[in-house]
Amino acid sequence: MKREAWLIYVVGWLALLVLLGISAGSAYLHLGGIEEYLPVSLALIQAVIIAVVFMKLRTGSSMKWLFAAAGFYWLLILIGLSSTDYVTRFGYSGRAGFDRMPAASDPALGQH
């Protein structure tokens, strides 16, 4: 194996471990609210590193990119369109979630 090839995999692996360290460490820190989204954001970066370096998306035909992107695109449709339902299911209060189910006395239900 060429030396550069070894190197890129080892560097990729080290990057994954650093991101993991930040993710695990952030669990114990107050970061003004971003700790809520940090682990998933870091997981997304890890996924890109694994796909590009270890699954070799950086080399080969653009067809590979197309197939990989299709999987991601379908996931966006799944999560995106489903979320629109859950966010807007009960009323238009602007608040998310189905815990906002209107109370029996709610004028929105037509009971005055």
């Binding site: 194996m1 090839a5 070894w6 995999y9 080892v10 990729g12 692996w13 994954l16 471990l17 993991l20 993710s23 695990a24 952030s26 669990a27 114990y28 820190l29 107050h30 970061l31 700790e35 940090l38 682990p39 998933v40 870091l42 997981a43 890890q46 996924a47 694994i50 796909a51 270890f54 699954m55 080969g60 035909s61 067809m63 590979k64 197939f67 990989a68 299709a70 999987g71 991601f72 379908w74 996931l75 799944l78 999560i79 489903s82 979320s83 859950y86 998310a96 979630g97 189905f98 815990d99």
Partner: protein, 205 residues
């Protein structure tokens, strides 16, 4: 002859695996969507429940799995360079690391049971509504269990690859099954990266 060149054969097999991975993305994606919906709804209870997960095992297991992804891809490189004994050794190391992951996971399940976080089996999480807290732990066992099934299949395939490498099936001209196995193995690692983020660093700060 089915393919014009070995490159074309390799490309076709890899595209097939990418297509399979796309279906797997939706398989695990649906589960994560369920998590997202319920966590948005029961944020405080989910955080409380998640803080009971054993983060040191989760972190250690991530290191183990990501290291196995490295040894897998190095094995493919070694086959391309005709370093067959090294390829076999790296494949065995990859499978062994997968097995270590499963053992640690099993131990973690035992700790979860002892901590009363297995739904319906004496489940109790202090300071949370028990229903939503059980939803989190159901997701935990369902998702990590399915991931473990995928990993077990991966270990079996890697061991078959190690056997075939030793038998002399692969070399610099033909190592396509190793490439395809590597794609699957890396995908199982990606799934774990997301499961780690959704389960372990939550609700501790």
């Amino acid at each position: 002859m089915q393919y014009a060149t070995l490159e074309q054969q390799s490309e076709t097999a890899q595209l097939g695996m990418w297509l399979f991975i796309a279906t797997e993305i939706l398989f695990f994606g649906g589960m994560m969507l369920g998590y997202l919906v319920f966590r948005t709804h029961f944020t405080a209870d989910f955080d409380r429940a998640a803080s009971r997960s054993v983060i040191w095992i989760g972190t250690l297991n991530t290191v183990v799995l990501q290291t196995s992804t490295l040894t897998m891809v190095l094995a493919i490189g070694a086959a391309r360079r005709d370093l067959i004994p090294l390829t076999t050794r790296l494949l065995y190391i990859t499978a062994a690391l997968g097995f270590v992951f499963l053992c640690l996971k099993g131990y973690e399940y035992y700790l979860d049971y002892a901590d009363h976080t297995v739904p319906t089996l004496g489940f109790h999480v202090e300071g949370a509504s028990q229903g939503p807290a059980q939803l989190f732990w159901l997701f935990y066992f369902y998702a990590t269990g399915l991931h473990a099934v995928h990993l077990t299949i991966g270990i079996a395939v890697v061991l078959v690859m190690a056997y075939r490498t030793r038998r002399g099936d692969f070399g610099p001209r033909y190592y396509n099954p190793l490439e395809v196995t590597g794609l699957y193995w890396s995908f199982v690692d990606i799934v774990w990266a997301f499961l780690f983020a959704l389960i372990y660093p939550i609700g501790r700060s």
